[in-house]
Symmetry: C2
Subunit: 331 residues, 2 copies
């Protein structure tokens, strides 16, 4: 394992210290727990948007704290859920009188810990709702959508909920908007290399020189199949074809298209994949209304990318296009 | 070599096609050459700011085309200078009547090709000046600063020149500003892994499991020494101590501090290194006026980071803090 770290068990605390210093215009750390909140939290009379999860996904989650996106993030260890108390402190810190919405990916630890935190917050009189992202097509069959993992589609949920909250939306309206974006979003990822969690020290899976990991998540979980290396055009076509077929997306649909780098893949390759996906969507009569290429949700240094499609309507397009001002995303 | 590419010789053209499609609000491609320019180029009565160089450095160079930064970029093959004709076409396309400033790194091919392009542009009546960045401390001794390579300090030059031009500065004023930032800037990089140029197919250098490449450039050139792995704090201290000593930076100075990821290093590690550098600067009485952590100039998937310090004065701080709106940098 070659990494620029000190004690593997200090990685997250030291990262947070650096991050808060660089981005103090946007964020501050709570004293009570490892939670980062908007510098101006709580924002009065606005629904508080809270997320959280394991570390190692930069720019997610903390890079998206700010106006029009997240109000708070509970920061776990690498690929590890934050404790319930941290999620609870996050809720308290951003409660501005209109309730708090928890946005989480569909992982057992996150679901359990946020549920406990929701109970604690409600006991203190804070209205709390939850929305769980489940965009990863590869993680469970279509008939069991509720078992699917949440991956980079979560970013679109944060943006949507954040915009709805910023525009004065109620807790129920924010929840409805993010549930709509989740229902409309599908992702599949593929990796060329694993990643190494510092405290573990060994790669999360192994791959031969001529293999790709298909259907990978962003924790370096092994995917659904090891497949032979192929050209960018061929893998992009394979991935987007499966994504399209799942919802399904149809001719005449307008979509948001996201090509998300998983960490170690140069952007040059992401744009090559984007190019092919765009050609395929064009040929199918699916219109790209919004496009995102870059790193939004990574798994440490894992080389790979994912393709995400979200079916847009006027409301979602407007919310995704609304202003946001965060350390890693400004629009 | 495991990469998401098609024919290695099509990598740059296919990337450009994808990039322009995603970022068409900001950029368009010239028909005459592989040059990207601001969507609204030429901007009348503004100095045109042109850069260019090899590809593989994303977000540099093309990610920084837009208001307040670059007007045009001549796009070379991976790690290869763009041809003189492309640089010339770039100059013509952004000439708005106040002259054109070429900003380039100190590499033989770039220097030669931009010089030829400058001659061609002048022959057509376009006023052209050049400024060459030389911030890489490791590439030549202090007594031979003019032989040093330009690395990520170039980003600060683009920002400075772009802001000066946007504020109505003359060609000479833009050149003077970027020369000042170059004189005030020092960088050293260190790598944990090399990168692989697609058309070559083999890594640019080799490293043992317990080694780092010290003084590396962003083309995967071998650095000045192979050194043993050490903690993040130890390598951050070694790098920043050499950077501080070169200018030298002194107690009471205000600086811009940049921790630039070279491509394959997770941001979590960059913030850990930032934290240590900040502690060292604090202890020395050097004040951080501006801070940058992330990827500004990479070498494909190379794992590594660099530390850059720029001595600020009121003018430079103002220019670096002025508005910019580009695909990869907004302020």
């Amino acid at each position: 394992m070659k990494k620029f770290i000190n004690d593997p068990y200090d990685v997250v605390d030291e990262m947070v210290e650096g991050f808060v210093d660089v981005h103090k215009r946007y964020v501050r750390k709570l004293d009570a727990a490892r939670v980062l909140v908007r510098a101006d939290a709580p924002v009065k009379n606005k629904v508080g948007i809270v997320s959280g999860g394991g570390s190692g996904h930069k720019p997610a989650f903390i890079g998206f704290i700010g106006q029009g996106m997240l109000d708070a993030v509970a920061v776990g260890e690498i690929f590890t859920s934050p404790p319930p108390l941290a999620c609870f402190e996050a809720a308290k810190a951003v409660s501005g009188g209109k309730g708090v919405l928890f946005l989480l990916g569909n992982y057992a630890g996150d679901v359990m810990n946020f549920q406990l935190a929701a109970d604690m917050a409600r006991a203190e009189g804070i209205q709390v709702e939850q929305a769980i992202s489940t965009d990863d097509v590869a993680s469970a069959p279509k008939e069991e959508v509720s078992k699917r993992r949440g991956v980079v589609g979560s970013f679109l949920g944060w943006k949507t909920a954040g915009a709805k909250a910023a525009s004065g939306g109620s807790l129920q309206e924010c929840k409805a908007a993010v549930e709509k974006v989740n229902r409309s979003t599908r992702t599949i990822g593929v990796a060329l290399s694993p990643c190494t969690v510092p405290a573990k020290g060994t790669p999360t899976f192994t791959l031969a020189e001529d293999e790709m990991e298909y259907g990978v998540g962003h924790h370096g979980e092994a995917g659904t199949a090891k497949i032979k290396m192929m050209t960018a055009d061929a893998i992009a076509e394979k991935v987007v074809t499966e994504v399209i077929g799942d919802l399904p997306f149809r001719a005449g649909d307008e979509v948001a298209l996201m090509i998300n780098g998983l960490g170690g893949t140069p952007h040059i390759e992401l744009y090559i994949c984007y190019r092919k996906v765009r050609q395929i969507l064009d040929a199918k009569g699916i219109k790209i209304g919004l496009s995102y290429v870059g790193e939004f949700f990574t798994g440490l240094e894992m080389a790979g990318f994912s393709v995400t499609l979200t079916k847009l309507d006027q409301e979602l397009k407007g919310l995704l296009s609304a202003p946001a001002d965060t350390p890693y995303y400004r629009i």
